[in-house]
């Protein structure tokens, strides 16, 4: 049963369709990470430099995206807003939009924490030797916080990639949706779901495992540098 199921998946276009679906998963993840990085980086830098009411604004944005689970966010942007505000967006664009906003929120907090964690003396020294705010960020604060940002940044990216799995709920044809189609077409063989979902798990594992390994490597390097 299992062998025939494996042969079934390897036969015809099944494997290439799965890989195509994986391409959609990767594309949405990549675009969300790209836009989220710009948004979060920008907001995080602003955030690291403000107090009072303005800080409350950033905090609120972050907490909303932390408290509300991703599924209602997705539905809000896919069903509610388009209908109430009278516009229409394809599911893939909605996905990128929601994930970018989410990534941006989480990333801005990472950037803020990293910039603020650079020793205070560094910032003051930068001002003391006459650097402007821009220069102090560009030459002093950012280079030092970057090494602290990278592991958390990669970790956040793996989270986004994992969360794309719920896109099957708004009928984006990503890898799991394709998997379901293949299972449906081969419903006579009961071992097919095991093989298909096992294979998809392996896809996710290879991508995220590589990223995690990379972040651990960077982390070790950072610790070594600090000594």
């Amino acid at each position: 049963m299992l062998t025939s199921a494996i042969n079934l998946i390897l036969a015809g276009t099944n494997l290439s369709r799965l890989i195509e679906g994986l391409g959609v998963t990767i594309e949405i993840s990549f675009l969300s990470i790209f836009f989220g990085t710009i948004l979060g980086g920008f907001l995080g830098l602003l955030w690291s430099n403000v107090t009072g009411v303005e800080r409350g604004f950033f905090r609120t944005y972050l907490e909303i995206f932390r408290i509300v689970p991703t599924i209602p966010l997705l539905f809000l942007f896919y069903y509610t807003f388009p209908r109430d505000l009278n516009f229409n967006l394809p599911a893939t664009v909605v996905s990128v939009l929601v994930f970018s906003l989410w990534f941006g929120a989480e990333f801005s907090d990472i950037v803020r924490a990293a910039v603020q964690s650079v020793a205070k003396g560094q910032k003051e020294s930068a001002y003391a030797i006459g650097l402007t705010t821009w220069q102090s960020y560009r030459y002093v604060l950012l280079p030092q916080s970057l090494v602290n940002i990278l592991p958390a940044y990669i970790n956040l990216s793996t989270r986004i990639i994992k969360t794309t799995s719920i896109l099957l709920l708004i009928s984006v044809t990503e890898v799991i949706t394709v998997g379901q189609q293949i299972i449906e077409a081969n419903s006579s063989n009961r071992a097919v779901p095991l093989v298909v979902y096992g294979l998809i798990a392996l896809f996710y594992f290879s991508i995220n495992g590589t990223l995690t390994w990379l972040s651990k490597k960077i982390e070790r390097k950072v610790v070594a540098n600090d000594r």
Binding site: P69, T70, Y79, R190, N208
Partner: protein, 218 residues
């Protein structure tokens, strides 16, 4: 937004709310227990810890949704049928176990070496050392991470909807499909989660602040 829809949906959401709470509680307790065992296993590098490293890697790097699909739709292919609710709990333990293990392990490793060495010098056995020195201190260091994991795992329970468990998210999506109204039900869904998450998040940060006053040695 219409009040009547909200009113009619309240009983369904109450059921969903308690089901979410039940599954999350069992799953999180299971994950904590699994996490402690795995963390100590890795801490002492007992035989077989490479297998546990692989478990952590698989669990952390694959989505819960695929883990659930694999258990619920995949395993019957080799004759292992597990009902939906048990699948959900099993999935949450499988996912949460690795996150909790990492949190505990971080705490155990943060216990200063001098504490362990002092314990050995006064003649504590390995078990006594673990029980009276390493565990009580390690758990305090790991609490912030454990708190973050608990909130993360509660939010992950919304994925249970894909195997048709009538928890909060499933209740909302079902009602949206039936009545073609999304505003009311999405709002109720967010409120339901907020009722669990906001007090929990406030409670955890209060707890953390109190813990920071605890100081051993130095």
């Amino acid at each position: 937004m219409s009040w009547i829809y909200i009113q009619q949906a309240i009983p369904a959401f109450i059921n969903g709310f308690f089901l979410t709470l039940k599954l999350a509680t069992i799953g999180i307790i299971g994950a904590l227990l699994l996490g402690i065992v795995v963390a100590f296993w890795l801490y002492y590098q007992v035989i077989g810890h490479h297998v546990l490293r692989l478990y952590i890697a698989v669990s952390r790097n694959t989505p819960l949704l695929i883990q659930l699909f694999f258990i619920y739709y995949g395993l019957p292919g080799i004759g292992l049928k597990i009902p939906a609710e048990q699948t959900a709990i099993l999935g949450l333990i499988f996912l949460g176990g690795s996150y909790m293990a990492d949190a505990f392990l971080g705490g155990l490793e943060a216990v200063p070496k001098i504490q362990v060495e002092s314990g050995q010098v006064v003649g504590l056995s390995t078990w006594q050392l673990a029980r009276y020195v390493i565990f009580p201190q390690g758990i305090l260091y790991s609490l912030p991470a454990i708190g973050a994991n608990i909130i993360f795992l509660i939010k992950e329970t919304s994925i249970f909807t894909v195997i048709a468990i009538p928890e909060i998210t499933n209740t909302a999506l079902d009602l949206i499909g039936q009545n073609y109204r999304s505003n009311e039900y999405l709002l109720m869904m967010v409120v339901s989660y907020a009722i669990i998450l906001i007090p929990l998040s406030l409670g955890l940060s209060w707890f953390e602040r109190r813990l920071r006053r605890v100081n051993f040695s130095n």
